[in-house]
């Protein structure tokens, strides 16, 4: 009986050691991954300025990625504007501040909700798409084939996509903001008759440079990291077919998290300034 207890204790001890080792490996893995992502970013930025510049690829990906996401982003923005207005109207009416409604909606959409929600949609749609596409190229040795013929796949495959997302995501955010204001305008008209001119005047009355500039600038970073993380996950995917799905999945998770981190950094900087 005593021998059995000793064996059980030993097994438990080994189990605890294994858990500790796995936890350590997990945290080490995060830092190694972060380090590799930094190196990858440096290489991609360098490739962006090395000839031959892939202007056609950049335009092609920009058009494809933007075109495919435009409807989704616009509809989401429209619904957000509509819902937000309908939910805020009773609250502001209670305080007798109903006239502030368009301005409050515009500021909240342009400053925060529009960029973050569009960023999250793009993380799900664009980043995962890029990761899956490049991972499939990695699995079928197409990336190796480019590498081995000296054609610098980082420039052709990655840099062109990252530049495209950097350009496209801010444009998509502008569309989302515009459609959210359109949704808000319709919702306001449910409660009272408001002309377009009056709605626009009230919407922009509360907005200043400090609302527009940081929110636009952060969408550029959103776009850059959505493209970069998708490409990184695809580029470093394993050799099996399951790695394609894994790369797409990880790209969504990490790109979404990165959007929140960038948003937090911008909010902190803006509040300090």
């Amino acid at each position: 009986m005593a021998k059995i207890n000793v064996s059980v204790a030993k097994l438990r001890f080994k189990g605890k050691l294994k858990v500790k080792e796995e936890t350590r490996n997990f945290y080490n893995g995060i830092f190694i991954d972060l380090g590799e992502l930094v190196l990858f970013t440096g290489k991609v930025i360098k490739q962006m300025f090395q000839p031959p510049l892939e202007f056609r690829e950049f335009i092609k990906h920009g058009f494809l990625l933007g075109n495919k996401s435009l409807a989704l982003v616009s509809v989401t923005g429209f619904i957000m504007g509509l819902v937000l207005t309908m939910q805020m109207n009773p609250v502001l009416t209670d305080f007798g501040a109903q006239t502030l409604l368009p301005g409050v909606i515009a500021v909240s959409m342009v400053r925060e909700l529009g960029p973050v929600i569009t960023g999250l949609i793009c993380a799900g749609k664009i980043s995962s798409g890029i990761a899956a596409e490049i991972a499939a190229m990695t699995v079928t040795e197409q990336i190796d084939a480019m590498e081995v013929s000296g054609t610098r796949p980082l420039s052709f495959v990655v840099a062109s996509r990252v530049m495209a997302t950097t350009l496209v995501v801010p444009i998509l955010v502008i569309f989302a903001d515009a459609f959210s204001l359109f949704g808000a305008f319709l919702a306001v008209n449910i409660f009272e008759d408001t002309s377009v001119e009056l709605f626009v005047n009230r919407s922009f009355s509360l907005m200043g440079f400090v609302d527009l500039f940081p929110s636009t600038l952060k969408t550029v970073f959103f776009g850059f990291f959505i493209g970069l993380i998708g490409s990184y996950k695809g580029y470093t995917a394993g050799r099996g077919t399951e790695s394609v799905g894994k790369a797409a999945n990880l790209a969504v998770v990490e790109a979404s998290l990165t959007i929140f981190v960038i948003d937090l950094i911008f909010v902190l900087i803006t509040s300090i300034l």
């Binding site: 031959p52 084939a145 610098r152």
Partner: protein, 244 residues
């Protein structure tokens, strides 16, 4: 052999974790030579040629390709060497979003973009004619058979006029007739482009047709070297078994 040495690999080591794949392997390749590498699956044959072009970074050793130590090159120098070393992948690795013409045009566009006078159409036609697939120029990779894909991949390799070609199991997954045709094609390419080649294969018919010398790889090193006839008639049963 008195011909110039185009590749010299010395004491190459590569491990994955605790798994030692290459254990100080070495080889010499001469101008115009077709060297076959034979061995059991998973023994590290593909790892060896990937280490030669640094698709996989070796742990240590020396790889001299056309007078340049590949392991000491920076990325620009490595790209220059890689243009002179063609690599035919097992599955062809054609770019599936591009047509055959675009697949062939891609390496020229990316590596010789400064040469405005280059007649790319002529180069594409010449490469496709060499592999006997001139008719497929406007097809997509998905429309090609396995043998055709390998031929197009070879044409894409040839378009940069390499001095050395590394073939990674060029006849795998092909029927006997097509694999015979590919083996003959390897010989034809050598005559036409004056290349030296390393051919990794499990296909003994390919080894017989396409190679001058064969090295048998085992446990991370080359165990024996000889011509097809010498090795297939050796007294060692284990070696003879490869040729059955």
């Amino acid at each position: 052999m008195n011909k110039a040495v185009v590749m010299n690999v010395k004491k190459l080591y590569k491990s994955f974790g605790g798994n030692h794949i290459l254990k100080g392997i070495g080889l010499t390749l001469h101008q115009g030579e077709n060297l076959g590498i034979v061995g059991k699956s998973g023994i590290g044959k593909s790892v060896l040629i990937k280490c030669i072009v640094r698709l996989i970074e070796p742990d240590s050793g020396e790889v001299d390709v056309l007078g340049t130590n590949v392991l000491e090159c920076n990325s620009n120098e490595l790209n220059e060497i890689r243009k002179k070393v063609g690599y035919l992948f097992q599955g062809g690795a054609l770019y599936d979003s591009m047509s055959v013409r675009e697949n062939l045009f891609f390496p020229i566009r990316r590596t010789q973009f400064k040469d405005k006078k280059l007649d790319t159409e002529e180069l594409i036609e010449q490469s496709l004619r060499s592999v006997g697939l001139l008719d497929a120029v406007d097809k997509m990779p998905s429309e090609l058979s396995g043998g055709m894909k390998k031929r197009v991949a070879l044409a894409r390799t040839l378009i940069l006029k390499p001095e050395i070609i590394l073939y990674d199991e060029p006849t795998t997954g092909l029927d006997a007739v097509t694999s015979g045709e590919i083996s003959e094609l390897i010989l034809k390419i050598r005559e036409e482009y004056n290349t030296a080649s390393i051919i990794i294969t499990h296909d003994m018919k390919c080894a017989r047709i396409a190679t001058d010398n064969i090295k048998i790889m085992d446990d991370g090193i080359f165990r024996i070297e000889g011509t097809y006839d010498e090795l297939s008639n050796t007294e060692e049963k284990e070696i003879r078994d490869f040729f059955i």
